[in-house]
């Protein structure tokens, strides 16, 4: 009875378009969520706060996984929507610093990121831009934003009270609480952490349902063979535009959540830099681009690891020249330490060469194979037991 209820609950989230459709997977996922929820009680406050940052990045990973893994649109500029949402949030929140103002800032930031993706996507997809050219255009957009925001140091670059601040960035964005009128919810420390975990879980499950829906199949078909799919009567331009736009919303959500984490309400143009733009591609390539859970896990693990390498290198070794701006590394998307990039780059190469589909799909197929082999062995054993039983009964005759 409970089994069928559970199965019915699971059904919308399962299908061939997602990794992990077994009871074992859901148990592991539940354990993972419990682990994340328990993390602030186990680890130090600072570690939990850092984890909030990685959780915010997980949405950025999801946004790329969704558009690239499921619809074949490799955007090298998801950080553009991340950063545009972050700056927009900052501008609105600085000008209207109340609880309501911060809520409004969230809505406006998501809207602007979404609209930006929709406009860019419209010109790309209805203009017949495909494949690698989409990648190049999105990267160029991020680079242009990087340059543009970098030259906004002068006092004339301000929106109301919000100074854009050039490469020094925008500081003092109010991000402590969100709410309406005098009622606010705390958005700091562990409170923020739990909100992030909850939002991430909801987004993950929502995306699972989406990619296994009819629209999800249309996305996959467009990824596999666009011309063929159009000739089955699908409006593939629209499918790509809708996917890319929603990917922009997710990246924008990532940027907004990052601003809530950001100590001192700080954002600078490095969020648009090429090395920042490469990070989502690295997370998703390593985690597995056709696996939402792989993208999330890779973002969390790689960023956590990245931060630890910075820590180890700065305390364990005397390499002052390599860590010129540790202060910055905790507050910007780009790690200041070049060594961590070298190590992560090596991991990326290894994964691409050894398991091009990514780590999560490889784990799934391995578990699947092991389980099948165990099953077969059990069958063989029961068969041979049967045979033995038969021969034993036959002997007295």
């Amino acid at each position: 009875m409970t089994n069928t209820v559970l199965e019915r609950l699971r059904a919308p989230f399962e299908g061939p378009n997602t990794t992990g459709n077994s009871t074992a997977f859901w148990v592991v996922l539940a354990l993972g969520v419990v682990g994340l929820l328990a993390y602030p009680s186990i680890a130090s406050g600072g570690a939990a706060e850092n984890m909030s940052q990685y959780l915010a990045y997980a949405f950025l990973a999801l946004s790329l996984c969704f558009i690239w893994g499921y619809c074949g649109i490799l955007s090298f500029g998801q950080v553009a929507f991340f950063g545009v949402a972050g700056y927009t949030f900052g501008i609105v929140a600085i000008n209207i610093g109340s609880y309501t103002g911060i809520s409004l800032a969230v809505v406006v930031a998501l809207f602007v990121a979404t609209a930006f993706a929709a406009i860019l996507g419209y010109f790309m997809f209805y203009g017949g831009v495909r494949d690698v050219y989409v990648t190049i255009i999105t990267l160029v957009v991020a680079v242009i934003l990087h340059r543009f925001m970098g030259q906004t140091a002068g006092s004339e670059w301000a929106v109301g009270d919000a100074r854009l601040g050039g490469y020094n960035g925008m500081v003092g964005v109010p991000n402590d609480a969100i709410g309406f009128g005098s009622v606010g919810i705390d958005m700091t420390g562990t409170g923020l952490y739990y909100i992030m975990v909850g939002t991430l879980l909801a987004t993950y499950l929502g995306l699972r349902a989406l990619v296994n829906s009819q629209f999800g199949y249309a996305m996959v078909a467009t990824r596999e063979d666009e011309d063929r799919t159009a000739m089955f009567g699908y409006n593939t331009e629209f499918i790509k535009l809708a996917t890319f736009t929603f990917g922009g919303t997710l990246a924008g959500l990532s940027g907004v959540l990052y601003m809530f984490y950001s100590p001192g309400g700080y954002i600078n143009p490095d969020v648009f830099s090429v090395s920042a733009a490469a990070l989502p591609v690295i997370w998703v390539s390593i985690g597995g681009r056709k696996s939402l859970i792989g993208a999330i896990s890779a973002a969390l693990v790689i960023q956590w690891f990245n931060n630890r390498i910075d820590g180890w290198l700065s305390t364990g070794f005397e390499l002052p020249a390599l860590t010129p701006s540790l202060e910055l590394t905790t507050t910007t998307v780009v790690p200041g330490n070049e060594w961590s990039l070298v190590i992560i780059g090596s991991v990326l190469l290894f994964v691409i060469l050894v398991m091009p589909e990514g780590v999560a799909p490889r784990i799934e197929s391995t578990v699947h194979r092991v389980l099948e082999r165990l099953e077969r062995r059990r069958e063989q054993r029961s068969q041979s037991a049967d045979v033995e039983a038969e021969t034993e009964t036959e002997v007295p005759e």
């Binding site: 199949y217 996959v220 596999e224 159009a230 000739m231 089955f232 409006n235």
Partner: protein, 258 residues
């Protein structure tokens, strides 16, 4: 009105848009130029509802280009296309499919990474409700002799199975006009015969076909009428016997193919 357009040549054969008649598809003055090359040159062509028409011609005659103009993959340089009396010259591909046209590509274009069942689901989910999926999937796979391969990844199917799967996928849309670009290329004799039987059977259900094919015996076994395309224009049209006995047709084939 389209008829007042001076770029469209009206000829006796196509002075109707097809409305009210049994014409399912008609082109008028259809032309496609690629730079200096005229691939399709002022073609007036018509197919009746439920007809099985074969399109033959030497390599480079413009057969595939002609099909791509019909599906909207290419935009014509001039001319117009009418389907069931309505013009669809400027419609995007997906809207033409909605009107009841379906196509099988020249190279078997199944989704290689998806299973047979998932492949079939892509066209099926556009026309069938979720409750019907299973029944229609099994029905279609039985008809195209692929039921045993339901869980096979399409890339692992044989060439013939892929051809059949793609025809099956295209047919699930329940088209009134089916375009087939070389459906038996690379198939064995038995497989070719099977496809021929299948097409005749489907044609009996009032689906009109335009089939591009090089295999003249295959054409003879299925075609109601044959259109010979040569250098982007209609060279001749008639029954297979007419075309086979036409010495001019032999000449263009021998002149260009050998």
């Amino acid at each position: 009105m389209a008829t007042s357009d001076p770029t469209i040549k009206t000829t006796q054969a196509v002075d109707e848009t097809g409305e009210g008649s049994s014409r399912i598809l008609q082109t008028r003055g259809l032309t496609k130029r690629f730079g200096g090359l005229t691939a399709i040159d002022d073609v007036d062509f018509a197919v009746d509802a439920g007809e099985l028409r074969c399109l033959i011609g030497p390599n480079g005659a413009g057969k595939s280009t002609f099909l791509k103009l019909l599906t909207g993959r290419h935009d014509p340089s001039a001319g117009a296309i009418y389907y069931n009396g309505a013009e669809l010259t400027d419609l995007p591909p997906y809207k033409r499919i909605d009107r009841g046209i379906s196509i099988k590509f020249q190279v078997p274009s199944v989704y290689p990474d998806l299973t047979v069942e998932e492949n079939l689901r892509i066209p099926l989910q556009r026309v069938a409700s979720k409750a019907e999926f299973e029944e229609r999937t099994i029905e279609t796979l039985e008809q195209f002799d692929l039921l045993e391969e339901i869980d096979t990844t399409a890339a692992n199917l044989s060439h013939g199975q892929q051809q059949r799967l793609e025809i099956g996928m295209a047919m699930t849309l329940e088209p009134d006009l089916m375009l087939l670009d070389e459906p038996v290329a690379g198939l064995s004799v038995e497989e070719t015969e099977e496809i021929a039987e299948l097409l005749v059977e489907l044609n009996d259900e009032d689906v009109a076909f335009i089939v591009i094919e090089h295999d003249i015996d295959f054409v003879a076994s299925i075609a109601d009428r044959v259109t010979v395309l040569h250098q982007g224009d209609i060279f001749t049209e008639g029954t297979i016997e007419d075309v086979r006995s036409d010495p001019e047709v032999k000449k263009i084939y021998l002149g260009e193919d050998h």
